[in-house]
């Protein structure tokens, strides 16, 4: 069984709104594949927690860039 994933990024107020979609590919009925998809996303990939981690890490990177630039500019 394969999984197809699309990640769509929209700019939003200086940030990003991510739309993340998954579709399982296999010979099983669609209803079963949908159920398996939900289990995979929530229990195996833990995507909600993953995105929270991603927010923390990417915000840290953004803050670091902004902070260093501000520090350089204000200390002159």
């Amino acid at each position: 069984m394969n999984a197809k994933i699309t990640g769509e990024l929209d700019p939003l107020n200086g940030g990003t709104h991510l739309k993340w979609r998954i579709r399982l590919e296999g010979i099983l009925p669609r209803s079963i594949l949908r159920l398996l998809s939900r289990i995979t996303v929530n229990k195996v990939l833990e995507m909600s927690s993953s995105f929270e981690n991603l927010e923390v890490l990417s915000k840290k990177q953004l803050d670091k860039t902004t902070f260093e630039l501000n520090k350089k500019t204000t200390s002159m």
């Binding site: 990640g7 709104h17 998954i22 579709r23 927010e55 990417s58 860039t65």
Partner: protein, 305 residues
């Protein structure tokens, strides 16, 4: 004399640092200005400059607007995946072309400036080297020989040799630093006083734009998805894109089963359709089906073997 040696943080000596230098130049602007009404031409320029600034920052820091060009820089520590730079300028070019088309469609003003906006194009120069940051007229700017060379590279033989209007030119040293070997390139050699011969590699963005416009999109629509998730992040798309797609970075945020994504292959010398990543823990291969930085990607995960 002290002021001459004063650098960032008020130190007596500015610390040299290494990083990427980017120039985004609106080509055709001189002819555009010469042949159009003075009243509207600066408005068109202003709109494009603001658009470019939005596209290229904060991934790169804006040093200065130099007439019809933007000069930007980024420390090498801030660009962990060199390919992000290529994706950044490529995405900027594609969005510029879309914007240019929209501007042309929406303009009702019959003046020459507004009617000939489609003659403007974009070229990018990307160089890597050492510089020092100094504050000039209230703004931090990189200075140094590398900065001079980046500016010299604006005058190059790419258009004359290839006929390209929209392109990116990388110095060879820059592309090596980015660890990229893209296909369909033009290898050039420029010669400048004090710098000698400089090897360059250029990519035709006009061709890229046509490819993006013509290609069938491989994209899961919301109604076709088994699961739809949405999340709003604080950082802009280029930063989120990098965290989502850099295999090394991805391993840091996946909360589920321990993943260890690594680059498997890059058939065309860069990430894009038909490139593959591999998770050495789960044994899954990630095959890239569609790749449009920083708008969307579609991948297929398949068990190896």
């Amino acid at each position: 004399m002290e002021a001459l040696h004063q650098g960032v943080d008020g130190n007596m000596e500015a610390q040299p640092q290494k990083g990427y230098l980017l120039l985004a130049d609106i080509s055709g602007y001189t002819a555009f200005m010469a042949n159009t009404e003075l009243a509207h031409a600066p408005l068109v320029l202003n709109q494009i400059i603001r658009f470019l600034t939005k596209e290229l920052t904060p991934t790169m820091q804006l040093a200065e607007v130099e007439g019809d060009a933007l000069f930007l820089y980024a420390s090498e520590n801030d660009i962990s995946r060199g390919e992000l730079l290529l994706e950044l300028v490529e995405s900027c070019y594609i969005n510029f072309r879309d914007k240019r088309r929209t501007m042309a469609h929406n303009i009702t003003c019959p003046c020459n400036a507004c009617q000939t906006v489609t003659t403007l194009d974009l070229k990018f120069i990307v160089h890597y080297g050492e510089y020092v940051l100094q504050k000039m007229t209230g703004k931090l700017k990189p200075f140094g020989s590398s900065v001079n060379l980046a500016h010299r590279l604006l005058k190059n033989s790419v258009k004359e040799t290839t006929g390209w209007n929209g392109y990116v030119l990388f110095s060879n040293i820059c592309l090596n630093k980015m660890e990229l070997s893209p296909e369909n390139i033009y290898k050039g050699m420029e010669k400048y006083d004090h710098f000698g011969e400089v090897e360059t590699i250029s990519i035709n963005f006009e061709e890229k734009y046509q490819e993006y416009s013509a290609n069938r999109k491989d994209f899961i629509k919301p109604e076709d998805a088994d699961v739809n998730l949405e999340y709003t992040f604080t950082a802009p798309p280029p930063i989120i894109w990098d965290w989502l797609n850099d295999p090394t970075k991805r391993n840091k945020w996946y909360a589920g089963n321990k993943s260890n994504w690594v680059v498997k292959d890059r058939p065309h010398g860069r990430t894009g359709s038909s490139a593959n990543n591999h998770c050495t823990n789960s044994g899954f291969i990630e095959h890239i089906l569609d790749w449009r930085p920083f708008h969307y990607f579609t991948v297929r995960h398949k068990k190896d073997g």
